[in-house]
């Protein structure tokens, strides 16, 4: 039975292959969300900037808007950040940030350092609102219509393709309707 230990690497590798094979059929970016077509969860949160008043879901009723979930600890957020800044610069719709499971000083430093694309940022330090939104990969981006219904969700960093081919046409359609 001593020879068995030489087979251990093979066994470990077989397990690895299994997981990689499963991984192939999963797209790290696309996750179905039960929220789509349903009203966005209600929230009332302090803003990251302490001086500003509480931010509520209902403040945004009547507007088409984008909710972007981010955190200062999230490296993937940096990936989409330039795009988000450009998107925000275009001034098409308000972009509300949801700072998820973070601390205020770190989040503020992060925005000061990388630029702030958000019209307002709600501070969700314990992540409760994030859980209501079904966040499980940061960054996530939601498009919410005038009646407060979630119309689109992207898990993982935004890409120019997603923005141009999915989000911008959707925003155009929603703003018209």
């Amino acid at each position: 039975m001593k020879g068995l230990r030489f087979a251990l690497p093979l066994a470990l590798f077989a397990a690895l292959v299994f997981f990689l094979w499963r991984g192939l059929s999963l797209d790290p970016r696309e996750v179905p969300s039960p929220l789509i077509g349903k009203p966005a969860p209600a929230f009332a949160l302090a803003q990251l900037d302490d001086a500003a008043p509480t931010l509520r879901r209902d403040d945004m009723l009547g507007k088409v808007w984008v909710l972007n979930v981010w955190a200062s600890w999230c490296t993937a957020c940096r990936e989409e950040h330039a795009l988000l800044l450009a998107f925000s610069g275009a001034g098409i719709v308000p972009i509300v940030g949801l700072d998820y499971k973070d601390t205020q000083p770190e989040a503020q430093a992060w925005l000061a350092r990388f630029g702030n694309p958000y019209t307002a940022t709600a501070f969700d330090g314990d992540g409760r609102v994030g859980i209501d939104f079904g966040v499980y990969g940061v960054p996530e981006t939601f498009v919410i219509d005038r009646r407060g219904v979630v119309r689109f969700k992207q898990v993982g960093p935004l890409t120019p393709q997603v923005l141009e081919q999915r989000i911008l046409p959707l925003l155009k359609e929603l703003s018209r309707g």
Binding site: L10, F13, F19, P28, W73, T75, G137
Partner: protein
């Protein structure tokens, strides 16, 4: 016409690889010298064909032949010539062709520089490498053909990813792949030894220079990638524990372990099965790295080409190559036998401990990289594992590794005495702690973490100094392998010193600056002179101008840029860096504020940051010196005599 030639060359290369993978192998098994003798000419022909294919793709880029889909996707008529050439490996298909070209190059090198090796062994090695080539050629021809045509051809191309339009990016992939693929030689040597059933000190001696050369290339490749991230991404960081960076770091760790265990196998005949396993693992991790980058199982900054079908093909290939070699290992390794015994305190035991540490480090990187994927595959949700995990795991592993790095070279083979070692190194210990404290005090403040980091650097230097002092008078006679080791270890010291200094004493500020404003940081005064528009060959840029002075004298003029590449309309940040041996001044432009009247400017003063890469260069240089040791190129008779002498000793 040229693309068809390239396509034909690839098909012919596949035919040649099939021959190289079968005939010499059969010859080695059946004992037919003439079949075995085919291995070398086939390897040369294979090389010529692959290089021809590579040349055809490069020519298509140079001629802006947009009827080739890959050229249309990765180039543009306004792209400067240098980047058109770099575009050859700027995307998925071309990267594979580069990989294959490197493999063909290493096969050629083995064919040319293996006169001292037994024929049957060379035949087996080249056959194994031939099989790897078959796998890559099939993958390219079936799912990722770089010569695929489009009709009608588009009027112009889609341009090379702007992030890749950088001198660092021109050199980074070739060096990285040289290293990755170089481990295929050690892998093929290991598989050939398992097939042939002989694994002795001579085998280890043949494998060592190849492994060290590949490792040196990989070191430079990783270094260039890190340097590129440092000045292109504009965050001032140089390592992000991104899955793709980890993919290159894992084979490096395994390769480092392999280099050290090969030394033991050669000198003492011990660790045989462990060394063979490491050789298989190092190359397997290179393949796994290719899989991670090319299949899109993990999302990362680098994963620009993702396609599940391709992923499946690579996975099948991985399963065959790695699974096959591990199965062979499970079957044949038990017959390799044990080496000579050694004491609890000896150079062997220290090298073994170093190996364990490196392998545990490698496994923890592997775990951190694949953990999100494992959770996802089990339906447990998605998450990303970040730098905190890697930093927490890495430091406790590297401290004992560095301690051993100082002790090992001074310890005797077989049996060393701890009191004697302690006696010899007592001054090194005292001096390194004192130096760490002094350096910390000089740089600003003393903290436990920094002192530990600096101590590691000085400990290495001090132990090398002790070693050299005790060998005074015989420096002329030091073998190159030994000189190389000392240089590489000095590289580790420079690396540790750079990291400790940057981590502890770097200064950073984000300031809003209007033209004429000044900001002070770590004794330097940064004066912002404004921003002007300018035009590059294929981009428009805003270029800032900053003058940095220290104590009233101008020390640097920095021009950071924000670029928009015209074709893809992608913004990039070009940091401006004034490098120096004791500090880098690093400036990048953030966002315009106040309707463009002022800018957010990021200022960094990074002490000794260049030592990080300098350390890597020293490590690679050490590798190159060690690999060039004449002892490795000794004629067969002498090496056999050596085996007998060693066996008798």
């Amino acid at each position: 016409m040229i693309p068809q030639l390239g396509q034909a060359a690839l098909l012919l290369a596949l035919a040649v690889a099939l021959l190289a993978g079968t005939v010499p192998l059969a010859g080695a098994t059946l004992g037919r010298p003439r079949w075995m003798a085919l291995a070398r000419p086939l390897a040369r022909l294979h090389f010529a064909l692959v290089v021809a294919a590579f040349g055809c793709l490069a020519a298509s880029f140079v001629r802006n032949d947009f009827s080739v889909l890959y050229v249309a996707v990765n180039s543009n008529s306004t792209l400067p010539l240098g980047y058109r050439l770099a575009g050859v490996w700027g995307g998925h298909e071309g990267s594979l062709l580069l990989w294959l070209t490197m493999l063909a190059g290493w096969m050629l090198a083995v064919a040319q520089f293996s006169r001292q090796l037994p024929e049957a062994f060379v035949a087996r090695v080249l056959a194994v490498m031939g099989w790897i080539s078959i796998g890559f050629l099939l993958f390219m021809l079936l799912s990722s053909n770089p010569f695929e045509r489009v009709f009608p051809p588009p009027p112009d191309g889609n341009d090379l990813n702007p992030l890749l339009q950088d001198p660092g990016m021109v050199a980074h992939p070739p060096m990285l792949y040289m290293g990755y693929v170089g481990f295929s030689v050690a892998f093929a040597f290991a598989v050939a030894a398992l097939l042939g059933g002989t694994l002795d000190a001579a085998w280890a001696r043949w494998t060592r220079p190849w492994t060290t050369a590949a490792w040196a290339c990989l070191t430079i490749g990783i270094m260039l990638g890190s340097l590129w991230a440092y000045y292109v991404l504009g965050w001032g960081g140089w390592w992000f524990w991104d899955p793709v960076e980890n993919a290159s770091f894992m084979p490096w760790l395994a390769g480092t372990a392999l280099i050290h265990s090969l030394a033991v196998t050669e000198k003492r005949g011990a660790f045989k099965s462990w060394t063979v396993l490491l050789a298989i693992v190092a190359f397997s991790l290179s393949l796994l790295g290719t899989f991670i980058v090319r299949s899109g199982v993990l999302s990362s900054v680098h994963a620009f080409a993702t396609d599940p079908k391709r992923g499946l093909i690579i996975l099948v290939f991985l399963a065959i190559v790695i699974g096959g070699s591990l199965a062979l290992y499970a079957w044949r390794a038990p017959t390799l036998g044990l080496g000579s015994r050694f004491g609890v305190v000896s150079r062997e035991s220290m090298l073994l401990a170093n190996n364990v540490l490196l392998v545990v480090a490698m496994l923890s990187v592997l775990l951190g990289t694949l953990y999100p994927l494992l959770l996802d595959a089990l339906g447990q949700g998605k998450l990303s594992v970040g730098p905190p995990y890697f930093d927490t795991v890495f430091v406790p592993l590297m401290v004992p590794a560095v301690l051993l790095l100082g002790l090992g070279p001074l310890a005797k083979w077989k049996q060393a005495a701890l009191p004697e070692l302690a006696h010899r190194l007592r001054w090194a210990a005292v001096a390194s702690i004192a130096a760490a404290l002094i350096a910390g005090a000089w740089a600003g403040h003393i903290s436990a973490g920094t002192t530990l980091g600096l101590w590691m650097a000085f400990w290495i230097v001090a132990s090398i100094a002790v070693d050299l002092w005790q060998r005074r008078g015989q420096w002329q006679a030091l073998p190159r392998a030994m000189v190389g080791m000392l240089v590489a270890h000095l590289g580790v010291a420079a690396f540790a010193f750079g990291i400790s200094m940057v981590k502890s004493y770097e200064a950073e500020r984000d300031v809003k600056m209007a033209p004429g404003d000044t900001a002070e940081l770590a004794g330097h005064v940064f004066a912002f002179r404004g921003v002007r528009e300018m035009q590059g060959p294929n981009y428009d840029a805003l270029q800032g101008l900053l003058e940095v002075s220290r104590g009233g004298t101008l020390v640097a003029t920095l021009r950071p840029e924000k670029r928009i590449y015209r074709v893809q309309q992608t913004p990039t940040t070009e940091a401006a860096i004034s490098p120096g041996p004791v500090r880098d001044l690093y400036v990048s432009l953030g966002e315009p504020v106040d309707q463009g009247r002022a800018w957010i400017v990021r200022l960094y003063v990074k002490p000794f940051v260049d030592w990080i890469w300098g350390g890597c260069v020293l490590m690679a240089l050490g590798g190159a010196i060690a690999a060039s040791d004449r002892r490795y190129r000794a004629r067969r008779r002498e090496s056999q005599a050596g085996v007998i002498a060693e066996a008798g000793a």
